[in-house]
């Protein structure tokens, strides 16, 4: 069992929506900052739009908590901008994102039990 696996996710929950969206954006692969921004906008249909200041404040927090690390692997130079940094969701970050999703799922289930939500919206 690694040290990271022993670490509890509870202290980091609940997450802010913006933070969760960033983790979601990284769930299917490493991305640089602008790509994360675009992915969040796409996933939320434009409902959530992260400014540069907000995004990097989130990334700093995620890095300091060990949910995200910088990936040293870079694409070919002709496709790259050296100013970019590529972010990778760590295993711990994945566990935290999963825990947050389960927490939100529990809340949706509760809302359904109270008949607040009756239809399952298409994803």
């Amino acid at each position: 069992m690694t040290v990271i696996e022993k670490r509890s996710v509870e202290p980091l929950l609940p997450m802010t929506p913006a933070m969760f969206h960033v983790l979601l954006a990284l769930a299917d692969g490493d991305k640089h900052g602008y790509a994360i921004m675009k992915e969040v906008t796409r996933l939320t249909d434009g409902a959530v739009s992260l400014s540069a200041g907000t995004l990097y404040g989130i990334l700093r927090r995620l890095e300091s908590e060990g949910l995200v690390v910088e990936n040293d692997e870079r694409p070919a130079p002709e496709l790259d901008d050296e100013r970019r940094r590529y972010y990778h969701l760590t295993e711990f970050g994945r566990r935290v994102a999963r825990a947050e999703a389960e927490r939100l799922e529990d809340m949706v289930t509760l809302a359904r039990s109270k008949k607040l939500m009756v239809k399952v919206r298409p994803v």
């Binding site: 602008y34 100013r83 940094r85």
Partner: protein, 880 residues
């Protein structure tokens, strides 16, 4: 490599990034620029997209940047707390030193805030003005105002509104136990309205109260009401007899600082027998009242002054007999706020400056301690730097730590200031009636916070001036390596600064203490031991109105009874006596055969009217001629005695005995029969004025003070003396029972406390500086153990090693002394107004301070230099 773009938008974005902490910028700045660049390209495709993007970006930065700063502070704060706990001894030492410096500053600022900075506790206090009518060539101070003059100013002034008149008298209040002599403020009906004072109970005065013949009403002050009636509101409506007239109590005032005097009760002008007298009202020269008012909105004090000057000229033209031209009449306006505080300002500002110097010494001392500790933390800093911490980040960490230490010191300093509050209020009360307004309010708390943060930043960042730009150096060179040259120079500079500042403080304190000593040992010209005084103001309705025989009879019978008391050596009655807090009565005169020059100010003397045993009772010596005797009766030629100052002033080396002078234009003449020694009539630090004594028998006054010299403590006889007064007149109150020694001590109280405070600050500075010198020299020895070992191995004696260390220390002290001396020469002249008998450049004081500092510094250096001689060369050579 992508070139850095430099369009306006890029520059603007880079400017916005500056709101983030430097470390954040270092980590993400370039990437954020790249992202924003991409966003701008995308935004150009939409109409209004660029504007939206800028708006969202700015909002995001201003939301996120403060959070980053707070997070960084939280991390630094947590680290600082851990370090403080780990080095608890250092932490306690630093906090204690800082608490003293910050506490002293906070305490003094609380006084300045309460007295000088706070608005007056009256409605629209900044527009309240005082008026003063003077005739400088009359030899008297303020002339005050008559009823006519007040009415004329009220009617003709366009710049002043709501003019208020005030005068203070002492009346007898009967109907409450023993007759009481009470301070009474006689005021116009709008007095409390203009000050914006609402009564606590009942009402204040209304315009109908001012009408002639109106029912007599009273308002009690809060302090008097609490002292005499325990705060019982049911006394409203009670009637009292004052001046043979019944007065009804209609109101009680709230607790408030009273202006111009602390009064027990207030009455309306129609109830005052003097003020309401038709002859008094009709006489333009019957000047008794103080006047103040409010500046009209939109008018300036300069406009008011210009108008008053015009009015005074108009009065002089219209009533030339009431304004003799040679006296040079003027009418002046001033801010009430200034009048209440001008006496206090110089002393308080000097104390604040002194406390500020102490704080600088504290900061320099603590900076040296931090610098010394930096050597031990050098490795830690180097490791953190190697792990990626920028220099700015490390500096921020160090300054956060120092600021937290300073804030902790500030909290304790605040407690020190709170503990000293009552002493400071009592001290300030000697200078200004605003003393009760001194408190630890939000301004003082902000000040304490401000100087704590300032001190923390100062002593946290100073040591960084001497730190190596390559933070990894300590890893390469090892911890035992001697301090870099720049650190050594910085430490020396801090010691020099402490010595220089301490010298300035010690010089100032030394001058004040010498000045105070001169005051204490000054011969006041009389003997104050075992003499008690009590004020007897005869009721003018029963003794006034020309009933001189009744006054003389009262005086004679009283002295006869008093002298029969066992233990009484002598007794006398006098109009005033030394250091009495009553203004002298200046009288113009003319010497026989020496007419006064027209257009020149009339000569004046301070009048004193006494019974024959006065000089013996108070202990004033006879210089030439004779004292008064009971033979100088009302049917004998008027006799006078002058003091030495007056004799020298007007007769020089000639003998004034037998010469005559007049005070009423020649209608009557006084013959000088004796010369007595000068005494300090008004204040110990003021020169003796020209004084002329006349006898009570020939010039009786309804107001006198009974003075009794006794064999034992005179306060044991006061009840008996009061009984002697009441045996003659049961309704005659006695007041102001004090010994002459109490009055002398009271006059010394302010210079005493000022010099003690300065002395305390200077002592604090000296102790801190000595500790600083000892600390630096100790470190110096530690860092040169190897060198000392080598010297001793090569044959150097203990004495030469000791001298080497001492020389190093005393060189720094010497430089500090020279700088301090120059600073003291520039700064001590600010003390000139507070000094008595001592010049600001007094060489004895400056020399004494130099010797003291050198001695203390030598003592501080002795320990480390002695320790250096005990170094074992073999051990030293093996040490790292």
């Amino acid at each position: 490599m992508s070139p850095q773009r430099n369009t306006f938008a890029d520059r603007a974005f880079r400017f916005l990034l500056r709101f983030f902490p430097s470390e954040f910028r270092g980590d993400y700045g370039k990437e954020m620029e790249q992202v924003f660049e991409a966003q701008r390209r995308e935004a150009r495709k939409d109409k209004g997209g660029a504007m939206r993007l800028w708006w969202e970006t700015i909002a995001g930065i201003f939301t996120t940047a403060p959070r980053e700063h707070v997070e960084m502070f939280r991390q630094d704060g947590g680290y600082a707390l851990r370090m403080m706990r780990k080095n608890i001894g250092f932490t306690v030492l630093v906090i204690s030193i800082l608490a003293l410096g910050i506490g002293a500053n906070t305490a003094i600022f609380s006084v300045i805030n309460g007295v000088l900075l706070r608005p007056l506790p009256y409605a629209d206090g900044n527009r309240l003005m005082t008026l003063d009518q003077t005739a400088p060539h009359s030899g008297q101070g303020s002339q005050r105002f008559s009823v006519h003059e007040i009415d004329d100013i009220r009617a003709q002034s366009q710049t002043l509104e709501s003019l208020v008149e005030y005068h203070n008298m002492q009346f007898d209040l009967l109907g409450v136990g023993d007759p009481q002599r009470i301070n009474t403020g006689v005021v116009s009906a709008n007095f409390f309205d203009v000050l914006g004072v609402r009564p606590l109970y009942g009402r204040t005065f209304v315009p109908d109260d001012d009408k002639p013949g109106a029912p007599a009403v009273l308002v009690f002050s809060y302090d008097y009401w609490m002292k005499v009636y325990g705060g019982d509101p049911k006394i409203l409506g009670t009637t009292y007899r004052m001046n043979d007239k019944m007065h009804t109590l209609v109101g009680i005032l709230p607790a408030m600082p009273q202006y111009p005097d602390e009064n027990d009760v207030y009455m309306s002008v129609s109830a005052c027998p003097f003020r309401s007298n038709p002859n008094f009202i009709a006489n333009r020269q019957a000047r008794m009242m103080t006047v103040f008012g409010r500046l009209r909105k939109g008018r300036t004090i300069e406009q008011a002054q210009s108008e008053l000057t015009t009015l005074e000229s108009r009065f002089q033209k219209s009533y030339p007999d009431d304004y003799p031209a040679e006296l040079d009449w003027t009418l002046e306006a001033g801010l009430l706020r200034t009048q209440l505080t001008e006496r206090a300002r110089p002393t308080f500002m000097i104390l604040l400056g002194t406390a500020g110097l102490v704080l600088l010494i504290v900061c320099a001392n603590v900076a040296n301690l931090v610098l010394s500790r930096q050597l031990r933390r050098g490795r830690e800093m180097a490791v953190r730097s190697a792990l990626g911490a920028s220099r700015a980040r490390l500096l921020r960490q160090v300054v956060t730590e120092s600021t937290m230490l300073a804030l902790a010191g500030g909290v304790i300093g605040l407690l020190i200031a709170w503990g000293a509050m009552q002493i400071l209020v009592d001290f300030a009360a000697r200078f200004t009636p605003r003393a009760p307004e001194i408190s630890l309010d939000s301004n003082v708390l902000l000040y304490c916070l401000g100087i704590s943060v300032f001190a923390g930043i100062l002593f946290g960042s100073i040591p960084q001036l001497g730190s190596n730009s390559n933070l990894a150096t300590p890893l390469k060179e090892g911890a035992a390596q001697g301090a870099a040259g720049s650190r050594e120079r910085l430490r020396s500079a801090l010691v020099v600064a402490q010595v220089a500042l301490s010298f300035a403080l010690l010089a100032g304190a030394g001058l004040m203490l010498r000045s105070f000593y001169k005051l204490v040992t000054l011969d006041p010209g009389y003997k104050s031991e075992n003499v008690v005084s009590m004020l007897i103001q005869l009721n003018f309705t029963r003794y006034g109105g020309g009933q001189i025989g009744k006054v003389r009879s009262f005086h004679d019978r009283l002295l006869e009874r008093v002298k029969e008391n066992p233990g009484v050596i002598s007794a006398a009655l006098a109009l005033t006596f030394p250091l009495n807090d009553r203004a002298p009565r200046a009288i113009g005169f003319q010497i026989e055969g020496k007419p006064n020059t027209t257009g020149q100010p009339q000569p004046t003397f301070d009048l004193q009217s006494v019974t024959p045993e006065y000089f013996e009772t108070v202990g004033i010596p006879l210089v030439r001629g004779r004292f008064f005797s009971y033979g100088d009766g009302p049917d004998k030629p008027d006799a006078a005695i002058v003091n030495l100052a007056m004799a020298r002033h007007y007769w020089g080396n000639d003998d004034p005995i037998g010469r005559r002078l007049t005070t009423d234009g020649g209608k009557s003449w006084e013959t000088i029969v004796g010369i007595v020694g000068d005494e300090k009539q008004v204040a110990l630090d003021k020169p003796s004025a020209d004084e002329l004594y006349v006898t009570q028998a020939q010039n009786p006054t309804g107001e006198t003070s009974l003075l009794v010299r006794t064999q034992q403590n005179p306060m044991t006889l006061t009840k008996k003396l009061a009984d002697d007064v009441h045996a003659i007149d049961p309704e005659q109150p006695v007041a102001r029972i004090r010994t002459l020694e109490q009055l002398r001590q009271k006059s010394l109280a302010s210079p005493r406390l000022t010099s003690y405070l300065l002395g305390l600050f200077a002592l604090l500075a000296l102790v801190i500086t000595a500790a600083g010198i000892a600390g630096v020299m100790g470190l110096f020895v530690n860092q040169r153990i190897k060198e000392i070992g080598i010297r001793m191995a090569l044959g150097a004696s203990g004495g030469s090693v000791m001298w080497l260390i001492l020389k190093k220390g005393l060189l720094r002290v010497g430089i500090g002394l020279v700088i301090g001396l120059l600073g003291a020469l520039a700064g001590t002249r600010l003390l000139a107004t507070l000094l008595f008998g001592v010049e600001p450049y007094d060489p004895i004081t400056l020399a004494s301070v130099t010797v003291l500092l050198l001695a203390v510094a030598a003592l501080a250096c002795y320990g480390p230099s002695r320790r250096a001689t005990t170094v074992d060369p073999l051990t030293a050579l093996r040490s790292e």
